[in-house]
């Protein structure tokens, strides 16, 4: 039996049919064509599938699509505006905070969530907050710097 779900993704109303066991990540990628969220593990260990659900940071591979009924989902596709990248995105580019880039959407979503909670995090706070987002390429150094620089810019300080 398929489930009929009505929800909101990046501010737009969407509806879909899915199996009760289908994850939000699968629906985002396969039903809605939003493939910016990646599956690195499917078990909640890598953060490549990070989204916000009603403003809470979550691994979309661990959420059942049916659970999103009547709620609101924010994905990487909703982060930039048509005119501009989010400061996190531009600082990741400026600092070369990505190599292969497959972890990047998850990092952007998670770091954006962090900066909304704490606009002035310490390096240590960023490292602990992003500990659930695996990156195998960069050694994290340039990612952490990019997040700190983006935070400074968003606070109106020269980055």
């Amino acid at each position: 039996m398929k489930v009929h779900v009505q929800t909101e993704v990046n501010g737009e109303a969407v509806e879909f049919l899915c199996d009760p066991t289908t994850t939000l990540l699968e629906v985002l990628r396969d039903n809605l064509g939003l493939r910016g969220s990646k599956e690195g593990c499917g078990t909640g260990d890598c953060g490549a599938c990070s989204v916000e659900l009603d403003g809470a940071l979550a691994c979309s591979c661990l959420i059942l699509a049916a659970e999103t009924q009547g709620r609101s989902v924010a994905t990487i596709e909703g982060v930039a505006t048509p005119e501009a990248l989010h400061p996190l995105q531009s600082h990741l580019l400026k600092s070369a905070g990505l190599q292969c880039g497959v972890c990047t959407p998850g990092i952007v979503v998670a770091a954006k969530h962090l900066l909304e909670q704490d606009p002035n995090p310490t390096e240590e706070a960023v490292r602990y907050f992003l500990a659930g987002n695996l990156c195998r390429c960069t050694g994290y150094d340039k990612i952490i710097r990019a997040v700190l620089d983006a935070a400074a810019e968003m606070r109106g300080e020269a980055a």
Partner: protein, 753 residues
Amino acid sequence: MSEAMDFKVIGTRPIRPDGVDKVTGRASFGADFSLPGMLEGAVLRSPHAHARIKSINTDKALAAPGVKAVVTGADFPQVAAGAIEGGEGGGDFADLAGNVIARGKVRYHGHAVAAVAAQSRAQALAALALIEVEYEPLPAVLSLDAALAESAPLIDEGLMTSGLPEPAAAPSNLASVIEMGNGDLEAGFAEAALIIERRYQTPTVHQGYIEPHACVGRWGQDDQAMLWCCTQGAFDVRSMTAKVLGQPVGSLKVIPSEIGGGFGGKTTVYLEPLALQLSKKSGRPVRMVMTREEVFRATGPASAATIDLRMGFSSDGKITAAEAIMAYEAGAFPGSPVGPGTMCVFAPYRIANFRIKGMDVLVNKPKAAAYRAPGAPQALFATESAMDEAAQKLGIDPIELRLRNAVEEGDSAIYGPKFGPIGLRACLEAAAAHPHYTKAKDAGVGRGVAVGFWFNVGLQSSAEVHINEDGTVTVIEGNPDIGGSRASMALMAAETLGVPYESVRVVVADTETAGFSNVTGGSRVTFATGMAVVEASKDIIAQCCSRAASLWSTDEDMVEWRDGAVHPRPGVNVEATPLSLKDLAGQAGRMGGPLLGKASLNARGAGPGFSVNLCDALVDQETGQVQVKAFTAIQDAGKAIHPSYVEGQLQGGAVQGIGWALNEEYVYSPDGIMENAGFLDYRIPVASDLPMIETQIIEVPNPGHPYGVRGVGETPIVAPLAAVANAVSASAGVRMTELPLSPPRVLEALDQA
């Protein structure tokens, strides 16, 4: 030479051409591609580490809902033995085919036995459970000692050891032996005032790229096939898949997606031949995506190794003799990187008397794949640990000890050729002067030093440079961009052509669009493909000069290319305003057609890469937990085209090496089942484990490249294993010789000390 060169854009840090796609989620990776009518494929994998397949019955699976095709080993041709050229791992086509799908026998837990294509993934998975396989389990061989034991079960009953002075008398699990040596070993040891003799061991580890393997295959009724996949080398996928399927290379087109990491592990094929065979049988495109668990169980780990090392030193720290007996696990098919391991083990040093023996040993684990400087991290872990111990015992500063033995330009490398300009000495001197090294250590902290080395390779590359009608530039090449190489290509094209970086776009094309290029691996892309881009840009310049000369009714040698335009040579009496790329491109329709530059080459002269790493580590005496407090990676890049991405390579390699040293290892049950096949239990480093990774780029230009580039991607993972282990040994006060330095192992060592 590039030392004297005054670069305009090379060495700057612009934003990569594919950057916006990658930070917005728009970039399309392996699993992101789909086709109408596509089926989902899934693989049935062996539940045994070693077993004979007595029978396979697929009838029930075929009849299951939604199932369109099932394949087993019987659907694939027998592939004749033959060396795989140009891949980073090397190896043999027959072994590759045997690894893609089992025939007769399964050789490791996770070995592919059958594959199903169905309308949905759930249906495909359900059908797998209906495939009936009868196995006769065999004893599993899980360690080097067990594999080499007298009456060890044979993984390949026909395997005769190669490389022995006499042909092998009977089959064994020893696939090959390599020996080399020079001088008088025993005389060298007799001279020594100090001999360090130890066994060093490293575990099976995984490359750990975040993107699992994925592909879509589509077979046509005309036997023309297409593959969309994430790979380090579309041309390698083409040749390997064609071979496994018994098809001509020209019948297969491979379209590489963006790639979410590889580190050597995506230089071979696993799913691709299965997807195509399923597509052939079903008449539909088939997508196959591995789970993380499958990635761990069935794709390229890096070889576990045991190295028995003996090094002799004079009282003033000169190496008098060195011997290494190196055994590497190949996994279930021959082909560990013990060969490069033997060539690297003593490469940083001048050693008159040495003997090296390498052994490639089969065990019932997944077939080893290339992992960043394949074979070198294990080898240098041993040597650099021994160097550290020697420095301690001789009372010589560890950097000074290395300086006293370091190879220099003109020395013969232990593996044969003479070194050209190399940066080992410069890296060591930079390390000695580095604030990390000169500042006092915090209480309890141990400081480790280690040297890294990797050959770097050249191989074949092609590139095209197209000048658009407004003078903007399109570069077409065939090497998937795994870490920012589009930016390097654009920088080299812009530098050569004298145009702004922003006017150059770089396209990574498919196997029917780009000229042939070997794999993205061996740290070769910025070097070799970069050289092709420079040559193709020079081809454009030659065409521009010739067109301008004819326009000005003068000879070609009366004009020259300067600052992005053709000028009359100084002193040549021609009335002409300089003609830029834009001017000439705009007139292409009146002057001989589009400006299209090409180059294809077999790059020689890859400059070897040397590095020095410094690590400060603190051991918690209660728990055995190790904290890396500071880490500095210093490496000779020849010339850093885009310094940020060079630093990124140094940092990323350092952290992978830290993971290898501290946490990572395949944990096996006694019957050969990996017990930690997920990121929760196979723990790669996370952000909170680490400090910032300081870097220092040394530039000793490589004369083999027009801008002095030498490869940088692999060397960074070589030194960290010993740098960390040396720091931990110093902090713990015990010499640690077996990785990983996980808390239980460190605690045990502390208890015994």
